[in-house]
Point group: D2
Chain length 259, copies 4
């Protein structure tokens, strides 16, 4: 699938500061960035590699006043949809150093609290079959309710409240997979099927020696997602962070199928 | 049912201090204390009424060293087992001032976090039928695992972990009932069916204009429980609290059917 | 001091529901309601006593659509400003049953977590001197920053973040006083010195056998506050709660010195 | 400084399982492992690199029954004590990809909650001077109290309670440094000055383009510490984790200066 991405963001800052951005589609396994452009008038931009070597983080040093950002890209996505049920989880002693960090709890994902629930509820299943069952459980049990969570909501609250938005679905998926000792990480992404159109958050799970995309909201398929960044949870993949207080003026994300 | 209660507690204190106790069977609706004795050698004892007028709290001023407590009682329990399913919940505007406080969250019971889950999962039910369904859900979903929680465990952790001891069952029951706007409070009690024999924690729910005992662990029936104290959660009904560090030397609770 | 209170609230509800209100100045120790009027067109109103017998809660059953509320009152306040430093805290065994509940933790006030800090930091002080030191510490250490907290903010977050609004100041004061085993409760109130004009939250502390108003923000003095409701924390004294989702249309609180 | 390390651990497992260990002194900057030996009779051992390329994690597949582990090493430590006050913090846009992850919150370190406190309290300081002031503040304000925390204690609780053990000191240091946007990570280590002798936890802070050891407890100096593992918080550097329930039978850590 080929998609076009177009992002417009405008923020007002009361002082010069450094803005950290993770908004560019990554050159990574299963997708190819055919063309892209980034324009932030007046900003000085530095770029470093993203977590686990996926994508990049940008530091934009911007003056006081308004920051207007425009990002555009065309991305070809070639990854197949994973057949989770046919995949195997690695035993602990076969995990890579990078994958190992993603079985541990994080700021929003207190996966340690779910060990007994996941152990009991999915005890009869193994590997990808267990992962698929966890994903299906989350999609069935949670309701997608815009505004039902905020940047401070953790996964214990999501589990009790049984509602959330994409980040909460992904957090719960990561937490429950980690509780089963299967590495799972947070992924920010663009997808043409995200409705209403916005930045999207999904997960990747480590099966058969590779990472596979899982969208517990059911909105997007793996071949309909352009990965931006990965990390332990929402904090690691935030599309924008500002050192100084920021006032949002405008933010439009448009993603379309093309060709 | 007539029961005998016998409690032996020994603690060592490094300094003189005041110990707050809630261990006496209450003279309250549905039960009658036929005889009782309390002996704490060397202690000066003051007594005030318990929360919501149920039972009493004791303040025992004890010297440094060992406190040996002996409490014995015979209690006749005459309350019937409630047929929750046939009872009605009061609309909000018919609640009493005392009952109203028990629909609110507390230290361990963040009932506000369960509103959407309870709203969705039990939406088709009303009043006592909803209460019974909540109780049954908890008994079915939680596992009773001694040592799986501690004094700091809150109900979000219990809900995620799906295991606990009597206090956790009662906390979750109170939280879910409150989320449905049905008053529910924590109750400490003695019962001959508690195994292994110990202080027990259950709940009371406000239906048909009165409080009714509910044991979400399934261990005890309402007519097999002698109420000691009530409150918002475990903090309010603690059987023993000490100002100074206390070392537990011995604690034996024996409860038997008699007559 | 004599004050006039004028409250206008307008909310839109998508369905008929019961709204719980705690907005009327209480007939209570140290203040006298000279005249008052409440008008909620179309609502059926029930009234019960507030927590600890202070003030009252109203249940307004309102139809779908807009609720327009108007409350006006004149209140004479005669309580003196407390000289906290000259007052004594009661030993535990002299507390009343009602006061005792206010040394325990609550939903937002995890006072149990502050025992060692308060014990060490204020160990050289006793009774009212300790209370005054705690109040002064909070006023000195916290910054009043509108928008820095929300309805979910608890006192551990306030203590770490060192900023908040009136509810957060009152929560921290209650938590630290309780950690010192001095009863402290949340109070909602009106005051002409609240700036910008709004509902206000302060605390009451139990010294010399009575409750005394303490405003840790430093905005108001005890004789410049008309008490509305008391409770364990913000949940117990919420001025308005709705069963159904509510959209705020307008809210204006005007309080003036008169006469 | 040259030190010898000797660790004896014995655990009983009810079933065969994989134990993850991080107990070997790392071959890393500022220290050289002169000799080492590891013996776990009956175990199959796999080894992968530790977080951020420091040290290694071991997976020991052990049979049901008792696991007896013996680890010994001699390590030469050559790193100087850092003069934090003379060092500079990197601006955000000069951080490396690896360092960047260590300014973010983690499971136990909700550093986002400390931004306003750290911003206000240490606003007059920069870089290493700020780091030193944070370290000194923590050592001055916290009390080292064995048993005052457990594996579930997070940094909000530590900050409120003002006491803890080495992991809590390190967590608070990491949280406050991160809140100042200075990368800080958790470090497990051995040191001859740890009293009573045990595994130790300290922190590393990123200044002048390198990591520098900081022990907020004041027990150890940088040249008296042999680093084992690094990570975001205690979860990432746990010296031992077991899939199955484990019963501790014996654990002795002996570290001495030699030569």
């Amino acid at each position: 699938m080929k998609i076009s991405i177009d992002v417009t963001m405008r923020y007002a800052f009361r002082q010069a500061n450094t803005v950290t951005l993770a908004i560019e589609a990554a050159q990574t396994h299963g997708q190819r960035v055919l063309s892209e452009s980034l324009d932030i008038p007046g900003a000085q931009i530095d770029r470093i590699g993203g977590d686990s070597g996926v994508g990049s983080k940008l530091f934009a040093r911007v003056p006081e006043g308004e920051m207007a950002l425009r990002y555009g890209a065309e991305v070809e996505i070639s990854r197949p949809d994973p057949s989770l049920e046919r995949m195997a989880a690695a035993p602990l002693h076969r995990l890579t150093s990078d994958a190992l960090q993603y079985i541990r709890p994080s700021r929003y994902c207190q996966s340690d609290k779910f060990v007994s629930f996941v152990g009991a509820r999915f005890s009869h299943l193994e590997g990808g079959t267990k992962v698929a069952a966890i994903r299906n459980w989350i999609e069935a049990k949670l309701s997608y309710v815009p505004g039902s969570s905020d940047a401070d909501t953790n996964v214990l609250e999501t589990f009790a409240g049984r509602q959330g938005v994409c980040r909460d679905y992904a957090h719960l998926f990561c937490s429950m997979a980690r509780a089963a000792q299967i590495p799972a990480r947070m992924v920010s992404a663009y997808g043409p099927d995200v409705a209403p159109s916005d930045f999207h958050a999904v997960a990747q799970v480590w099966l058969d020696g590779d990472w596979h995309l899982v969208d517990a909201t059911g909105m997007c398929r793996a071949n309909g997602l352009a990965v931006v960044a990965v990390g332990r949870d929402a904090y690691d993949v935030a599309f924008m962070e500002s050192q100084a207080p920021a006032e949002l003026l405008e933010q439009v994300v448009t993603v379309n199928r093309i060709g």
